[in-house]
Amino acid sequence: MAVTILFLGPLRDLAGEPTREVAAPLDWVGLLAAVGPEVAAQLGEARVNVACAGKVLGEKTSLSAQDGDEVALLPPVSGG
C-alpha cells in the first residue's frame, strides 16, 4: 500500500503526470520532496490547498497521510 498524490488543474502539467504513488506515511516535508521543486514552490503559496482522504486541510503543513490515503493538491479554482 502507498499514498497516492493527485495533481489537479495546472499542477498536473507541472508534475508531468496526473498521479504519483509514494510510500506511506507521508508528511508535509515528505510531500515537498516527492513532488519536485516546481510543484513544491506552488505548494508554498497560501492559495494552493491540500486535501487528504477527501478533506481539505485547514493547515496543510499538518499533513499526515497513511496507507491508502489520497493526497490531492488543489491550485486556485475557477468555475462558472
Binding site: 486535501a51 490531492a72 475557477s78 468555475g79 462558472g80
Partner: protein, 154 residues
Amino acid sequence: MKDVRLLHQPFIPGALIGPFTNAHPGLGGVCTFVGEVRGNEAGEAGEVERLELLHYEPLTLAGMDELADVALARFDLMGLLMVHRVGEMHPGEPIVCVSAAARHRRGAIDAVDFCMDHLKSASWFWKRERRAGQWRWIEPRAEDHSDLARWTKL
C-alpha cells in the same frame, strides 16, 4: 426544495427550470442565471475551440451542496436549483445554471448572485480553454475575488 447536480453531458436549462418553478406553488418570483461558454471577444487572438472544466469528485459536489445550504439559510428562499457542467464543452453551451424561488424577489435575486460568486472563485473547479490547438488554464480574475468579497463585508 434543494436540487444540486454535477452534469457530465450537455443540458437544456429550460428543461430544469420549468419543473423547478412548478415545484413551488405560491412563489412570488424565480430568478435564474445561466452561464455559457463564451465565444471570442473583439480583438482576441485565436478562436476558442473548447472549454474543459475539471472537478475533484470527493470535494466538488459536496462543496456545492454546502453552498446551497448556506444560501437557503441566508436568503428567504422556497427552493434552490444549482447545476454545473464538467468535462469538455463548445462555445455557446451552458456551463452553469442557478435558479432560486422565493416569496419575494430580493431573496431570489441575491441568492443567485451569491451562489454564482461562490461558484466562480470558491468552488472546486478548474477551467482551461483551447485556442489554436493550445490548452491554457484560466485563473479567476481579480473581479471574481472582489465580487466574492462583497458577501463577507456585511
